[in-house]
Amino acid sequence: MNPTKRQKNKKGLNETVNLIPMINLIFLLLIFFLLTGVISKKDNYTIEKPISKFGEESKNLNEIVILTINSKNQVYYEDNLISLSDLNQIINSKEKKYIFEIDKNAKSYEFVKAIEEINKQNIKKIFLRVEKSEEKND
């Protein structure tokens, strides 16, 4: 290599690494995770949701109340084991959105009993969380 060129290169070389583009990228990633993700509490129990072709993406405009029925047919509200007779204390507002998270192996009998209790409180609509099937709707 021509020694004069090497000298020029050495002179022009900036010794510090430019960190600004990396910071820009990290900020962009951070903003992406902040805006698109939802920080949710992990449940103590695992629920395998029932599969349905007609599941629609949820729109939670109102305050939501999630009632969970696990595979052993135990009903949970906010991580507390409750009985169906306790539902009338939980269901106290028509403005709230009541969502059931039920294990697909749980008995439908419990679900129907729960909605009968809810119906006594004049709630007109309830929701059931499902796993949307990949099958195409005919």
Binding site: L19, M22, I23, I26, F27, L29, L30, F33, L34, T36, G37, V38, I39, S40, P50, I51, S52, K53, F54, G55, E56, E57, S58, I69, I99, I102, D103, K104, N105, A106, K107, S108, Y109, F111, V112, K113, I115, E116, I118, N119, I123, K124, K125, I126, F127, L128, R129, V130, E131, K132, N137, D138
Partner: protein, 138 residues
């Protein structure tokens, strides 16, 4: 005597701690956020005891869910036969409403699969209940 030439150092901000904190935040949000969207199906609750009671029993298609098996007219029927022989010909049949009766052993998945099939065939008059003599719920 010659005085030493003072070397002026330009002030530089150390950005390494900033990068550390941003990285920490990025890792936190990457691990804590949840991107899964929830799918739901909705149920309209209404007291249709009168409607069902007023209908002639012959106008009701009563499907019993017994131990995840569909019983119609005292015989077991699978989902495919039910769709081909009844649900697809719904308009030509004499029925006005489907009533699903659960037993204590049927799973929520079998109820959802049956409701999916009914919805697929665009039948809207559906009620479900636990016991034959109790109010069916839509």
């Amino acid at each position: 005597m010659l005085k030493p030439v003072s070397q002026k150092k330009s002030p530089r901000i150390n950005i390494i701690p900033l990068i550390d904190i941003i990285f920490l935040m990025l890792v936190f949000f990457m691990l804590a956020t949840n991107f899964s969207r929830n799918n739901e199906i909705s149920f309209t609750l209404s007291n249709q005891k009168k409607v069902v009671n007023q209908l002639n029993k012959e106008k009701l298609m009563i499907l019993n869910l017994k131990n995840d098996e569909i019983i119609f007219d005292d015989s077991s029927i699978n989902l495919n036969d039910l769709e081909m022989n009844y649900l697809k010909k719904w308009r030509s049949l004499n029925y006005e409403r489907i009533v699903i009766l659960n037993d204590k052993r049927s799973s929520i998945q079998s109820l959802i699969s049956l409701l999916d099939l009914i919805k697929k065939n665009k039948i809207k008059n559906v009620n479900f209940s636990n016991e034959p003599n109790k109010t069916p719920k839509k």
